[in-house]
């Protein structure tokens, strides 16, 4: 059979093999996506039919004090997650890379990554109890803050939960940075070392510039991840006290399934999606570019 004939036979039957994936994705992911988009412009309680309300739900997002609070908290999460776990991940990667026991010394940081967000919430909820493990440790070392109610007021509760997720996420980032470090050619680095570059200067002038692609990916993933923050907050504070630690992902859930304001929930979801999408472009371009080169 000639090549062309082969291609023709293949192409004729190809849709059969592609259909299940396309159908499942269209029905369970894209169709809901379209419905949510429509509902976000309506007043809808899930029972009566949706009533067109234009941009009302979006306006509420920027005028309702609770939702503004959630917006600010979500922003805190984004800023927190692109700084703390990324910086720590980089530090761990640079310190362990090329280290004799590197793989072993990295393990404590990777362990929390294998744990679910719910379990992280359970553990840190326990650590941060008033006069709990953290308080007792601070007291033992004579440090201030032993009696702080870590989760009792905003924005402190959000910051402590960012610490909890940093505990979970730093190791993953370290792993990604190690992959990045491994892709740096060894010879120019050796030459720089011979020229007397070492320590921080070696890092700054020779390693850091070459880590840019992987840094983009890590930051992109951190932004996308932080916008979705739900599990840990749900377990540790349920967004409270009041709404002081609510994130937009949590507001969406509450508006929809607790307050039955489907339109408002949908508007929050769409807003989150747009921001996520914008952030994804940062690293998707890199990923898909990669895929395209291969095929």
């Amino acid at each position: 059979m000639s090549n062309q004939a082969l291609d023709r036979t293949g192409a004729r039957k190809a849709p059969l093999f592609g259909l299940p994936a396309v159908a499942v994705v269209a029905l369970l992911l894209y169709l809901p996506l379209v419905w949510t988009t429509y509902v976000s412009f309506t007043d809808y309680d899930g029972l009566a039919s949706p009533m067109w309300s234009g941009l009302a739900n979006y306006k509420a997002m920027f005028s309702d004090p609770d939702l503004i609070g959630a917006l600010v908290n979500t922003l805190l999460w984004v800023v927190g997650m692109v700084t703390l776990p990324v910086a720590l991940g980089l530090l761990i990667a640079v310190l362990t890379y090329g280290h004799k026991w590197g793989t072993w010394l990295r393990l404590p940081f990777l362990l929390p990554y294998a744990i679910s967000g719910v379990a992280v919430g359970v553990i840190w909820g326990f650590v941060l109890q008033p006069d709990g493990a953290l308080g007792q440790a601070l007291g033992f070392f004579g440090l201030p803050g032993a009696h702080t109610g870590w989760l009792q007021a905003g924005p402190g509760n959000t910051l402590m939960m960012i610490v909890a997720v940093t505990w979970q996420a730093a190791g993953v980032n370290a792993l990604l940075f190690v992959v990045g470090l491994q892709s740096i050619p060894a010879e120019p680095l050796e030459a720089a070392r011979l020229d007397g570059a070492e320590g921080f200067s070696l890092f700054r002038h020779h390693l850091w510039p070459q880590l840019r692609p992987i840094t983009t990916v890590v930051i992109g993933l951190s932004i996308v991840g932080s916008l979705k923050t739900f599990d840990v907050v749900w377990v540790m504070t349920q967004g409270g006290p009041g709404t002081s630690s609510e994130t937009l992902a949590l507001s969406m859930y509450k508006e929809t399934f607790v307050l039955n304001d489907y339109g408002q929930g949908a508007a929050i979801a769409l807003f989150l999606s747009l921001v996520t999408f914008a952030a994804s472009i940062l690293y998707l371009r890199y990923q898909l570019g990669d895929a395209r080169e291969q095929g």
Binding site: D7, G10, A14, P15, F17, G18, P20, A21, V22, V24, L27, L28, L31, P32, W35, T36, G46, I92, L95, T96, L105, P108, F109, L110, L111, P112, A114, I115, S116, V118, A119, G121, V122, I123, W124, F126, V127, G132, A133, Q136, W167, V172, L175, L176, E198, L221, D231, W234, M252, Y253, T256, G265, A266, A269, F277, S280, Q287, L288, R292, G295
Partner: protein, 269 residues
């Protein structure tokens, strides 16, 4: 310099292990022997009694069976559906294959929040709400895009002559897929399976939204239920529950670390 590095890493590592230490030590205390003022000090070993408590109070038994089902069946289905798509696009040269690929892969770049409400309504109307079948369907759908992504890349690396030879040998397209392409992709299939099984096991949001009864509800929502009834379940019990549900993924992770790092590089999670 190297000593300073090691010292910094050890100190940081110990800080990182502290919460794990606290979890294990306090999950092991007997409910009566637990004292909120001395959480750092080990006291007794009632871990298995607490496991038992968590098991009965959160109805973890039922939920564990259900969650195990979801974490095995959904990723297997997703792997098959995703590989079929990869096969269609790369090997069979589906028309406008790259566009279809972007369509499938694009299914997961928006947050779950975007699909929760319609899924809930749709499930409620079609009788899929609070059924094991419904949970398997949704977990499969969520896992397909990543699976198709990896399989497409994998099949791209296989020489065209393999397909030509197989056709000349007189194999049907389905048989070529089943007995030549799938077996060759063993490691990629395993990597997808492990990553998606972990995702399903750790899921909270979909379980919370689409199920409520003990026999359908996955394990993470069940654990949050245990946690929120602090009055009913004592702290060591809650912590034992947290430890129990973490063991499978931690063991899987340690056993298959390289698969995880590959998944990371692909941008999942």
């Amino acid at each position: 310099m190297s000593r300073v590095k090691t010292a910094v890493l050890i100190v940081l590592g110990l800080i990182w292990l502290a919460p794990v230490y606290l979890l294990v030590v306090n999950a092991s205390k007997s409910v009566d022997g637990y004292d909120a003022k001395t959480v750092w000090k080990p006291a007794g070993f009632s871990l298995f009694a607490n496991f038992g408590d968590a098991w009965s109070k959160a109805a973890l038994g039922d939920t564990l069976v259900a969650t195990t089902m979801y974490s095995v069946i959904a990723p297997v289905l997703a792997v098959l559906i995703g590989s079929a798509a990869g096969y269609a696009i790369v090997v069979l040269r589906l028309k406008r294959g790259f566009l279809w690929f972007v369509f499938i892969f694009g299914g997961t770049i928006f947050p779950l929040q975007m699909i929760l409400m319609p899924l809930f309504s749709g499930y409620a109307n079609s009788g899929l709400y609070d059924t094991r079948t419904g949970m398997i369907i949704v977990y499969t759908a969520i896992s397909v895009p990543f699976s198709a992504f990896v399989m497409r890349n994998f099949f791209t690396g296989i020489a065209r002559s393999v397909f030509e030879a197989a056709v000349v040998d007189g194999g049907g397209l389905f048989r070529i897929f089943r007995s030549i392409y799938l077996p060759m992709a063993g490691s990629a299939l395993a990597a997808i399976f492990i990553l998606q099984a972990t995702f399903v096991w750790n899921d909270l949001l979909l379980g919370l939204t689409l199920s409520q009864s003990d026999s359908v509800r996955p394990i993470m929502p069940a654990l949050t239920g245990l946690q929120s009834t602090y009055g009913g379940a004592s702290l060591p019990t809650v912590l034992a529950g947290g430890l129990l549900v973490s063991l499978p993924t931690v063991i899987l992770f340690l056993a298959a670390q390289r698969f995880f790092s590959r998944g990371l590089a692909l941008g999942q999670f």
